[in-house]
C-alpha cells in the first residue's frame, strides 16, 4: 500500500489554554478528496492551517508526503497548493502578471504555456490581460484556482472555495474541481460550510466537533451514522446537539 499523502497523528492545538483541536488523527490517501466539516470553532480551519505550516501544533505530528511539516515546510509547499475564497492576489496587477509571478515562485517550466493552458481550462482566457481588481467574485475565484494549479500540485487544500459565489458559479466550480481531480489524480482536502459542496465533491468526510472527529466515511455513511437524509441535517443536529450527540454507530 502506498504511503498516505497526509498523515495526522494525535494533533492538538491550544490557543492560550483554549483547545481548538483536541486529538485529531486521520490520513488522506493519494487521489482522495476529503472534506473537513463542522460548525464554526470545530477546529477544521486550525487543522488545514496546520497542514500548511501556518500554525505550530501544541502536540502531535503532521506529515505530508511522508515529511514532517515543521522541518520540511518549503519542500512540502513546493508540491502542494492552497486556494481560499478569503485570499486575493494583488489587485492592480494583470491576471497574467499575477500568474507569472507565482509560476516563477514555484519554478514552473514553460510557464507561458502552463498559464495559457490553465486559463483555457477554467474558461477565462479572455481575462488574461484584465486587471485582477476589476474581476467579479466568480472570475477571481477561478483565477485563484488557476494560481493553485500552476505547480501541478499533488495536494490541493481548499478553504471554502465556493464561498461568495452564486449557485450557478458554485456549481461550475464544484464540477471543475471534480474534473481536475479525476484528470490529474490530485489529492484534495476541502473545507466548506456548504453541505452541497461537500456532498457533491468529497469522497470522504471527516465530521469535526469541538476539535475531534466525531464521524467519518463517505457522505452517505455519515448521513446514515446520524440517521439523517442530508449532510446539512447532520450539520444542524451536531451543532444543536452539542456534547451529548453521538453517532448511531457509537451509541449502539
Amino acid at each position: 500500500m502506498t504511503e498516505p499523502v497526509v498523515q495526522v497523528e494525535h494533533l492538538r492545538k491550544e490557543f492560550n489554554g483554549t483547545v481548538a483541536v483536541a486529538d485529531l488523527s486521520f490520513t488522506v490517501q493519494r487521489g482522495e478528496i476529503v472534506g473537513l466539516l463542522g460548525a464554526n470553532g470545530a477546529g477544521k480551519t486550525t487543522a488545514i492551517q496546520t497542514l500548511l505550516g501556518l500554525i505550530k501544533p501544541t502536540g502531535g505530528k503532521v506529515a505530508v508526503f511522508g515529511m514532517d511539516i515543521e522541518r520540511h515546510r518549503v519542500a512540502i509547499l513546493q508540491r502542494a497548493n492552497f486556494c481560499s475564497a478569503y485570499t486575493g492576489l494583488p489587485t492592480n496587477l494583470k491576471v497574467w502578471e499575477n500568474l507569472l509571478i507565482f509560476s516563477l515562485i514555484y519554478g514552473v517550466k514553460d510557464h507561458r504555456r502552463k498559464i495559457a493552458e490553465l486559463l483555457a481550462l477554467l474558461e477565462i482566457s479572455h481575462l488574461r490581460k484584465a486587471i485582477t481588481g476589476h474581476l467579479s467574485s466568480g472570475e477571481s475565484t477561478r483565477v485563484n484556482i488557476c494560481k493553485s494549479l500552476l505547480n501541478d500540485p499533488e495536494l490541493l487544500l481548499l478553504d471554502e472555495p465556493t464561498a461568495s459565489l452564486d449557485p450557478d458559479m458554485a456549481d461550475k466550480v464544484r464540477k471543475l474541481l471534480r474534473r481536475i481531480q479525476r484528470e490529474r489524480n490530485i489529492t484534495m482536502v476541502y473545507t466548506s460550510h456548504n453541505m452541497r459542496d461537500v456532498q457533491e465533491v468529497c469522497d470522504r468526510v471527516l465530521f469535526m466537533h469541538k476539535g475531534r472527529i466525531i464521524a467519518q466515511g463517505t457522505p452517505q455513511q455519515v448521513m446514515d451514522q446520524f440517521n439523517q437524509t442530508s449532510l446539512e441535517d447532520v450539520f444542524i443536529s451536531v451543532a444543536r446537539g452539542g456534547d451529548v450527540l453521538t453517532p448511531k454507530s457509537e451509541a449502539s
Binding site: 501556518l54 500554525i55 519542500a75 509547499l77 485570499t87 486575493g88 507565482f102 514555484y106 519554478g107
Partner: protein, 264 residues
C-alpha cells in the same frame, strides 16, 4: 536561498510599483516636499545673516541622508503591508518561500527605490540650491551603505511587530523611524544633546553616519571611527532585527495569527 524565488518577488514589486501612479508619486512626494521646505528655510536663515557655517550644506545633506534611512526601513515594512492590503499575504506564506528570501526581495526593491529617490533629490538640490551631494566623494558610499543597513534592520523589527499585532500596528511602519530621529543627531551635532543622552545616541548607528557626514562636509574627511562604529552597530542591529523578526514570526505561528493577517 533560492534566487529564482527572490527574483519572482522582486518582479512582483516592480509590477506593483510601476502599475500604480500613487505608489510612484509616494516615492517622490514627501522627499521633494522636505527638500523644498528645508532648502528654503536654509536659504532664508542665510539671508538673515545666520553665521552657522555651511548651514545649507548640513541641512540638505541631513535631509537626503535621513530619507535614505527612512526609505530603507519603509521598503521592508511597506512591501509586507502591500501583501496584507491585497489579502495576498497568505498566498505568500503558503508558497515555498523562505522568510529570508522574502526579506532579501524587500531589501532589493528598497535599494532600487532609494537609488531613484536619491537621484531625483540630488538633482533637485543641485538645480535649486547649487548643492552637490557628490561633493562628499567616495565617503558617500560607506555612509549610504550604513544608512541602508540600519533601515533594513529597523524595517525587520517593524515588520515583526506587524506580524505579531496585525494591521493595528500599521502606524508603526511610519512612526518608528521618527522615534529614532531626535536622538540620532540627524539635523544637529551630537553635542547638542544633553550629556546624559549622548551615550544612548551613540548606540544608534545613524548617529555616527550623520556625525561622519558633517565632518566630511566640513572638509575634515571621513574618520574611520565613524564607519567602524556605525558598521559594528549595524551588524548587531541586523542580527537583532533578524532574531526579533523570527521571534515574532514564531509567536504569530503559535497563536495562529498568520492566517488572520492574510484574511482580515
Amino acid at each position: 536561498m533560492n534566487f529564482r524565488r527572490v527574483g519572482a518577488l522582486v518582479l512582483r514589486y516592480t509590477f506593483l510599483y510601476t502599475r500604480s501612479v500613487p505608489r510612484v508619486a509616494e516615492m517622490f512626494f514627501w522627499p521633494v516636499m522636505d527638500l523644498l521646505v528645508w532648502g528654503f528655510i536654509s536659504v532664508y536663515l542665510l539671508r538673515m545673516g545666520n553665521n552657522v557655517p555651511g548651514m545649507i550644506t548640513f541641512l540638505l545633506g541631513a535631509m537626503i541622508f535621513w530619507d535614505i534611512l527612512y526609505r530603507a526601513q519603509q521598503a521592508v515594512t511597506i512591501s509586507f503591508l502591500e501583501d496584507i492590503w491585497a489579502r495576498n499575504v497568505l498566498n505568500i506564506f503558503v508558497a515555498p518561500i523562505r522568510i529570508s528570501e522574502f526579506i532579501v526581495a524587500t531589501y532589493l526593491v528598497g535599494f532600487a527605490k532609494i537609488i531613484i529617490t536619491v537621484t531625483v533629490l540630488a538633482s533637485l538640490a543641485y538645480w535649486l540650491y547649487a548643492w552637490n551631494l557628490f561633493q562628499m566623494g567616495l565617503a558617500l558610499v560607506p555612509l549610504f551603505a550604513n544608512l541602508l543597513l540600519m533601515g533594513w534592520a529597523v524595517g525587520m523589527m517593524t515588520t515583526g511587530l506587524i506580524l505579531r499585532w496585525g494591521q493595528s500596528a500599521e502606524a508603526l511602519a511610519w512612526g518608528i523611524p521618527f522615534l529614532i530621529q531626535p536622538f540620532a543627531a540627524v539635523f544637529y551635532p551630537l553635542d547638542v544633546l544633553p550629556p546624559w543622552l549622548q551615550p544612548i545616541a551613540r548606540l544608534i548607528p545613524a548617529t555616527h553616519v550623520f556625525e561622519g557626514m558633517r565632518a566630511v562636509l566640513r572638509g575634515e574627511g571621513l574618520a574611520l571611527h565613524y564607519l567602524t562604529a556605525a558598521f559594528g552597530l549595524n551588524i548587531l542591529y541586523l542580527i537583532g532585527g533578524g532574531l526579533f523578526f523570527r521571534w515574532m514570526y514564531a509567536i504569530a505561528r503559535n497563536k495562529g495569527l498568520l492566517a488572520k493577517l492574510g484574511t482580515q
